[in-house]
Structures are given as structure tokens and as C-alpha cells.
């Protein structure tokens, strides 16, 4: 940057930036602004240390268009928020949460409100700057010493030489008429508008350095490392405590997990009643409800309720295997999905109630275990209800096969309630015709005979 160059350009282009007039107070400024705008100038501006009320009409400035820009931005925010939430929640990635609607308007209002305000606020700020021609990095006025007081206690009007009506002498005369405290010509800014080379180099170096992290990411992603990951936030991940499978130096056998002390049992953990807890009577599956489960209307209602909660989602309300989960999985063409068993199928219906209890408790095939989720007494109640369902399907459904074991629905105390005579030939049918799942014990006895018997007359049951 040679100094001679600069002086040369000044000599060539000695047209000033404009003419500056100084005033002592806001009232003088407004009066002067009225005269300048009346004279028909267009490229001029007022400068004051604080906002001056009434300067807008004095300068004949039209009202800003900002509100219209802001209202459009606000409505854009509203629309963006609603469409975004609707698209992500209801279209692109619908997620069932407790049966709630995918697109619940009240839940989306806070985001909508926030985005409306955000869009409007940012737009207001950015548009205000742009409409005002900001940011402005430099101005020829910066080089006028007098003008420093524009941010202190003086008021200024500057008419630019670019103005079509600008004429050095006439404009000066106008300022004199407005009783300006001082009038001064503002020289044009003749400094180079080239960006200094150092700045360009600095930007290039920073841009190059900014690529380095991405390079590191890329190399890390395409290679493997034996190092443990950085564990920046510990979140109580490492604690002075034993976990079941960890080694313990305290005990002789080095096991952290300790069994019961010999000869003791935890409170409430006694499973003495194998009929009630395991569905076993002696060596065989129980054929009746345990004594402590009373087959009355209350138990039936309880069973119906729990069936509705735990069984119906897959097996369906009537147990036909057409529950909501099945229908959904079927519609999605889930390859590994197997249709839930129709609980009124002969293969199920002929099983002793104890065996069904075992299936419910520990699960069978795809069906998970419900022992940990459903109270023991409730599982029996469910089975009572299942028997009722089987019975109803046999009578009114399209069951082709008899369901002899359904006699178990009769409570032990009222054995004669068994639906004897429903299908007279029933006892014979299951014999020698093994059920799909539990072949060995498929010998369901004569309905009339089986009900009163609580202790197993059956063949040994399959091991759990």
C-alpha cells in the first residue's frame, strides 16, 4: 500500500462525500429536517445521540414495511411448527404411546407458539438491520472530527453529493437558512476498499484448520481402535457395589450373588401348595381349580378383566387368536410372526387346567411367561375365564371338535355343573389323538367323571 497511490486517487476523485450541518438541539434538528425535506432532497440523513420524537414526519419518512414482513414470518413459524410436528409424529415415524393420538393438537401448541415467536423475533431483528442498511463497517463521516459528538451532545444533518439536487453552493445556502451551528464539507472516503491480503490469508488458514476435525472424524470412522472410549460424563456408572455376575474377593467361592442360607426361606416365598403355585397334583397336571380359588362370579369377572389386559391383545377378546397385536403384525407382514393359538382349539381345550396354568406362568413357544406379571390367583381366575370362553365357543362357535376338558370350569365344590352331555361322544375322541403341544397326557377323562376328581388320574405330564 503505497502512500503515493492514495494521494493520487484523491486528486483524481476530489468530489466530496457530502455536506454536513451541525445543530445544538433536537428542536433545531427537526426544524432543519423539515426545510431539507421541503427542498426536495432524497439522499440525506439526520444523526442524533438519542431517538428524537417527531423526526420521522419531519424527514417525510414513510412508515416501515417491517410489520408486514414480521407477520408473514410469524405465520411461517406457525405453519412450520405444525407441519413439522405433524409430519414427524403422524406421518414419518408414528409411534404408539399408550394409545394416544399421533397428532394431538394441544401437545403441539407450545412448540408452535415458540416457533411463531422465534421466527417473528429473528426476522424482526434481521429485517430491521437490512432495512436500515446495517451493518455498516465504515463511513466517510467517521473521519470528520466534529461528527464524533453525534454520539454525545450534537445533532447533524448530512446531504450526500450523490443527491441529484446536490449543489455545493445551494446546499450550503440551505444549511445557512436552517441556522446550522456549523457547516462542513465531508471528504469522500478514499481509502482502498480492497480487503487486506493478511486478512484473506488468515481466513484461508482458519478455513483449512476448520477441516481438520472432520478429517479426524473420517479417519476414526474408517479404522478400528483398541482404546476404550472416552468416558467424559460418568453418571454414576462406576460405583463401589457388587453386581450379580461380578467376582467378589470377600466370599470364599468368589461369587457376588448369594443364595439363601440353608434351611431358610424368604418371607412370602413359600411355594408349598403345588396345586396352587405349579398346577401340579402329585405327578400329574391338576384337573381342577385349587381349593383356595373359588369359582364364583367374582373370580370369573376378575379373570375376564385380567384376560382383557394380558391375553386379549394377542389372543383376541374371544381367544380366537385375532388380537390387535396379531392384526397389526399381520398387516405389517412381520416374517417371524406366528398367529396366536385359538384357545378354543381342541388342542388347547383338551389340556388339563394345570397344564394351561403352567403355560401361562412360564410361557410356551412364542408366548412369553406371565408368572412375574400376573398374580397367581389372577392366573387361575384367567383360566377359569378361559374355560368359560372355550365352553362358549364350543356351543356357539364353529368348533368342530368336542372340548372335554372344559369341564374343569366347574368349581370343585359343584362338580355336577360340568357340561356333561354336551357332546356325548367326547370322552373317546381325545384318546389316542395327541394334542399338538402336550402329547403324553392328552387323555381327558369323561367329563362327568373328571370334574369331581381333584387328584390326577392322568398320565404323567410333560416336564416343564
Amino acid at each position: 500500500m503505497s502512500h503515493e497511490n492514495e494521494t493520487q486517487t484523491t486528486a483524481v476523485n476530489n468530489r466530496p462525500y457530502g455536506l454536513l450541518a451541525e445543530y445544538d438541539g433536537p428542536d433545531q434538528l427537526i426544524a432543519a429536517a423539515k426545510q431539507v425535506s421541503a427542498a426536495g432532497y432524497s439522499r440525506w440523513d439526520c444523526y442524533s445521540p438519542f431517538p428524537v420524537h417527531g423526526i420521522d414526519p419531519a424527514m417525510r419518512i414513510k412508515r416501515t414495511k417491517l410489520p408486514y414482513i414480521v407477520v408473514v414470518a410469524g405465520l411461517t413459524g406457525t405453519t412450520t411448527a405444525l407441519v413439522m410436528q405433524w409430519w414427524t409424529n403422524a406421518v414419518d415415524y408414528p409411534l404408539i404411546v399408550s394409545g394416544k393420538p399421533f397428532f394431538g393438537v394441544p401437545a403441539n401448541i407450545p412448540i408452535t407458539f415458540e416457533l411463531t415467536v422465534l421466527f417473528a423475533a429473528i426476522t424482526t431483528f434481521v429485517s430491521m438491520l437490512l432495512l436500515n442498511g446495517l451493518p455498516k463497517h465504515s463511513s466517510p463521516l467517521d473521519y470528520v472530527k466534529r461528527f464524533d459528538r453525534a454520539s454525545d451532545d450534537k445533532f447533524f444533518i448530512v446531504i450526500e453529493s450523490e443527491d441529484p439536487k446536490y449543489d455545493e453552493a445551494q446546499t450550503q445556502a440551505l444549511f445557512q437558512r436552517t441556522h446550522a451551528a456549523a457547516v462542513e464539507s465531508v471528504p469522500a472516503d478514499t481509502t482502498s476498499d480492497q480487503v487486506p491480503k493478511g486478512v484473506i490469508y488468515a481466513i484461508l488458514i482458519i478455513a483449512a484448520l476448520a477441516l481438520v476435525p472432520f478429517g479426524l472424524f473420517a479417519s476414526a470412522r474408517s479404522s478400528t481402535s483398541g482404546d476404550l472410549p472416552f468416558h467424559l460424563v460418568h453418571n454414576m456408572d462406576f460405583q463401589e457395589k457388587y453386581k450379580p455376575q461380578k467376582k467378589s474377593d470377600f466370599f470364599a467361592d468368589h461369587r457376588t450373588s448369594r443364595g439363601d442360607v440353608e434351611g431358610t426361606i424368604a418371607v412370602g416365598a413359600l411355594r408349598h401348595d403345588s396345586h396352587f403355585f405349579a398346577g401340579r397334583v402329585g405327578d400329574a397336571w391338576a384337573l381342577t381349580l385349587p381349593d383356595r380359588v373359588v369359582a364364583d362370579a367374582a373370580t370369573m369377572a376378575r379373570g375376564q378383566e385380567k384376560f382383557g389386559v394380558y391375553c386379549a391383545p394377542c389372543h383376541g377378546a374371544t381367544g380366537a387368536g385375532d388380537g390387535m397385536v396379531h392384526r397389526r403384525a399381520f398387516a405389517l407382514k412381520e416374517g417371524t410372526w406366528v398367529k396366536p393359538t385359538n384357545i378354543s382349539d381342541r388342542s388347547v381345550a383338551i389340556q388339563p387346567i394345570g397344564q394351561l396354568f403352567n403355560a401361562v406362568t412360564h410361557g410356551i413357544r412364542q408366548m412369553p411367561a406371565y408368572g412375574s406379571q400376573v398374580e397367581t390367583a389372577d392366573r387361575w381366575a384367567i383360566l377359569l375365564y378361559v374355560r368359560a370362553l372355550q365352553h362358549s365357543q364350543k356351543q356357539y362357535g364353529s368348533q368342530e371338535a368336542p372340548v372335554p376338558a372344559a369341564t374343569d370350569t366347574a368349581p370343585a365344590s359343584a362338580p355336577t355343573d360340568a357340561p356333561a352331555g354336551d357332546v356325548p361322544g367326547a370322552p373317546a375322541a381325545p384318546v389316542g389323538e395327541p394334542a399338538a403341544t402336550a402329547a403324553p397326557q392328552a387323555t381327558a377323562p369323561n367329563p362327568a367323571a373328571s370334574a369331581p376328581k381333584t387328584e390326577g388320574a392322568d398320565a404323567p405330564a410333560e416336564k416343564k
Partner: protein
């Protein structure tokens, strides 16, 4: 800047015969309306009480909003509002009249026999001893919700509001006769007192809303309920200010004092409180909707079924969405006709809002709105307007001695 020229010297600052004429008409219409409403509604005492409670909470909320308007502007030493200050003070100091009208609510409660059958059928079921005995929840709440404490509280609220609003007016009137120095001292005093008054106002309004409206269903609770009532109060107070000033200017008063800059400011706050009302209303709704706890949701379920849903959704559209866009424009807020239109609109919607708070309890499935409701509210508004005009007669409608008056007259709004 060049402000004094704005006010004409022969400005009319006092109401004369026209105030008497207006007062006579308003009192006449009010009294006839109220008597007719009571006569027609007497067959269904509980329904009549409900209508009266609705109308009463409506006029109370407007007056409370004006009370707040006076207190907040005194507190922040606002300059712009001096030209409208006296009008607001006169309207806010209607509190003793409101207190008198509250007897329509308080007397039936005071006279009810809490041991008898009537208590459980009254508007406030918690009055009944039998109910307290039967409901574990109410038993726990009865330390607060019981007749003597309720009466003490309500009397305390009205004593506070009436005392403070009359004090404001008296000090303000004293300014008119005071010297310059005294006048400034009074203005300072009013500002200082406003700080504790604001705290008292927040507490009394909140608990009044709890006592008179929320306890209609003693099982339901919402901590934001007082704020909701406050939002409607302030909104309707600004609307009332706009309409009153328009009426006064039509009668030839304050013509050169109050200009579109002052209307613009009233309109801006009206607009802001339209949004604030919706914001608070939705805040209350969303938390209850999201938590989905039966002891809270039933309050909304009553309002989303059997015809009430039309009012609920109607409030969103007519109390918020339409006035929001209606008041958005600067030009509307500076245009007296438009601003008056929206002020009247919001005042009507505020009545619907209060009706929606009071009536759904025990009216599930039907919206029993009828002529009695209209007559009673017209009655109360008429009586209050009549008394206000009569009291205003002879008073200076602008505090001419207040040092901030020139600034208020010169006020410019952008």
C-alpha cells in the same frame, strides 16, 4: 415539543346535565332489568343465583381490572395515562357499589343453614355439613372452605378494594385544589402506596377467584385460576376504558386531551392481554390435558360435552383468534371506530368467558342460557354505569394540576 398548543383552552372537562340524563336512563334500565330478571328467574332460585354470580363476577372483574390499571400506572409513574387517569379512578372507585351488589352472593351464603338440606343444593356444596362429613377430601379442605372464614375473607377483599380505590380518587381530587409542590407530593405518595397495594391486589384477586368461582366445584383446583381471572379482568378493563372515553368524547368532553396516541396505547395493551388471556387459558388446559388425572380433567370434560364444547371452542376463536388478528394492525388501534368495535366485542366475549366458568357445574349436557342471564347482567351494568355517571358529574375529568399532564398530552405513539 410544541405540546401545549394541542389542547384547546375552552375544553370541556366536567360533565353537566348530560351526565344526569345518562345516569337516569342507565339507572332506570338497570333497575327495571334487574327486577324483571329476578322476577322471571325466581322460580329457579339456584339458576337465578348462578346468573347473578355470573353477572356479578363480570362487573367485578372489570372494576378489578380498572383498579389494577390505576395501581400499575401509579406504581411505574407513567406519564402517558394522565389524561385518562381520572376516568379510570372514578370507574375503579365503583368498588363500594360492587361491594353492595355482592350482598346478592354473600347473603344467601350467610343465611344458609349448613346443617340443613338447603346447603347441599346451594351453589357452594362445601357449605353443607353433611357434605363435609361424607367427603374425605372436603373434610380436609374444610379448614379453609367453611362459612365463617369464607365470609371474613370476602368482606376483607371488598374492604381492601373499596378503601384503596376511594383513597386513590380522593388523593387525585385533592391534587386539583393543591399547589404545585403539594400536587407533586401527592403524586409521589400515590406511587409509593401502589407497591404494597399491588401485592394486596394480587392476593385478594387470586383468592377471590378461588373462593367465588373455583370453589363452585370444591373437588377441582388449579393454581393458575386466579391469573386466568386476572387476565380477563385487565382485558375487559382496557375495553371499558376505550368505550368510556369514546362515550365521553361523543358527549363533547376531553376532546382535545385524548387523541389517537392514547387510544393506540390502550389498544396495544388490549391486544397484549388478548394474547395473555389465551396463553394463561391454554397453560391451565394443557397441564391438565397432559397429566390426564381424573380429579382435574372432569372440569374440562363438563366443558367439552353436551353443547358446552361449542362455547369452549368458540372462546378460542372469538375470544382469541379473531380479536388477535383484528387488533394486530396499528391502524386499527388508532382508529376510534375499529377500536371501539373490538372493545365491545371483547367485553361481550368476556361475559361468555365468565358464564363458561360459572355455569357448566351442575348443568352438564345443557347450556341453559336465557333471558334471565341477559336481564341480570344488563341490570348490574346499568346500575354501575348510572352510579358512575352521577358520581362523575361535577368532577374534573382530567387532573389539571398534575405536573405530568403536558407530557401526557404531548404523548406520541409509534
Amino acid at each position: 415539543m410544541a405540546s401545549e398548543t394541542k389542547v384547546s383552552a375552552d375544553e370541556k372537562l366536567q360533565l353537566g346535565g348530560e351526565a344526569t340524563r345518562f345516569s337516569n336512563i342507565a339507572l332506570g334500565v338497570g333497575a327495571v332489568s334487574l327486577v324483571a330478571g329476578v322476577a322471571i328467574g325466581l322460580g329457579d332460585k339456584e339458576g337465578l343465583l348462578r346468573s347473578y354470580l355470573t353477572a356479578f363476577m363480570y362487573v367485578l372483574s372489570i372494576t378489578l381490572g380498572l383498579f389494577w390499571f390505576v395501581a400499575i400506572n401509579n406504581l411505574v409513574n407513567a406519564k402517558w395515562w394522565i389524561v385518562v387517569r381520572r376516568v379510570a379512578e372514578i370507574l375503579a372507585s365503583q368498588m363500594p357499589v360492587i361491594a353492595l351488589l355482592s350482598l346478592g352472593i354473600i347473603l344467601p351464603i350467610a343465611l344458609v343453614d349448613t346443617a340443613g338440606e338447603g346447603a347441599i343444593q346451594s351453589l357452594y356444596a362445601w357449605l353443607s355439613d353433611a357434605q363435609v362429613h361424607a367427603s374425605h377430601l372436603l373434610h380436609h379442605k374444610s379448614a379453609y372452605l367453611n362459612k365463617p372464614f369464607f365470609l371474613i375473607r370476602v368482606v376483607a377483599y371488598f374492604a381492601f378494594w373499596a378503601g384503596v380505590s376511594l383513597w386513590y380518587l380522593n388523593r387525585s381530587l385533592a391534587q386539583d385544589k393543591a399547589s404545585k409542590a403539594e400536587s407533586e407530593l401527592i403524586a409521589q405518595q400515590m406511587g409509593r402506596v401502589s407497591a404494597p397495594v399491588m401485592i394486596g391486589f394480587g392476593l385478594t384477586l387470586t383468592f377471590c377467584a378461588f373462593d367465588l368461582l373455583m370453589s363452585l366445584d370444591y373437588t377441582w383446583f388449579s393454581t393458575i385460576f386466579g391469573v386466568y381471572y386476572f387476565a380477563g379482568s385487565v382485558l375487559s378493563a382496557y375495553a371499558t376504558m376505550v368505550l368510556t372515553l369514546l362515550l365521553l368524547q361523543r358527549a363533547g368532553a376531553l376532546k382535545s386531551y385524548v387523541n389517537e396516541n392514547h387510544y393506540h396505547d390502550l389498544g396495544k395493551t388490549m391486544f397484549a392481554f388478548t394474547v395473555f388471556w389465551a396463553y394463561i387459558g391454554f397453560s391451565q388446559f394443557m397441564l391438565i390435558w397432559y397429566a390426564d388425572i381424573p380429579e382435574e380433567t372432569h372440569w374440562y370434560q363438563w366443558r367439552l360435552r353436551g353443547g358446552w364444547e361449542l362455547i369452549s371452542y368458540g372462546l378460542i376463536v372469538l375470544h382469541f383468534a379473531i380479536p388477535f388478528f383484528g387488533l394486530l394492525s396499528r391502524n386499527v388501534k388508532r382508529n376510534r371506530k375499529w377500536l371501539g368495535f373490538w372493545a365491545a366485542w371483547l367485553l361481550i366475549m368476556h361475559y361468555v368467558d365468565i358464564y363458561w366458568l360459572v355455569f357448566p357445574k351442575d348443568n352438564e349436557g345443557t347450556v341453559p342460557f336465557g333471558v334471565v342471564d341477559v336481564l341480570v347482567v344488563v341490570g348490574l351494568v346499568g346500575l354501575l354505569a348510572g352510579v358512575a355517571a352521577r358520581r362523575a358529574k361535577g368532577m374534573q375529568l382530567v387532573p389539571v394540576k398534575d405536573a405530568r399532564l403536558p407530557q401526557s398530552i404531548a404523548f406520541e405513539n409509534y
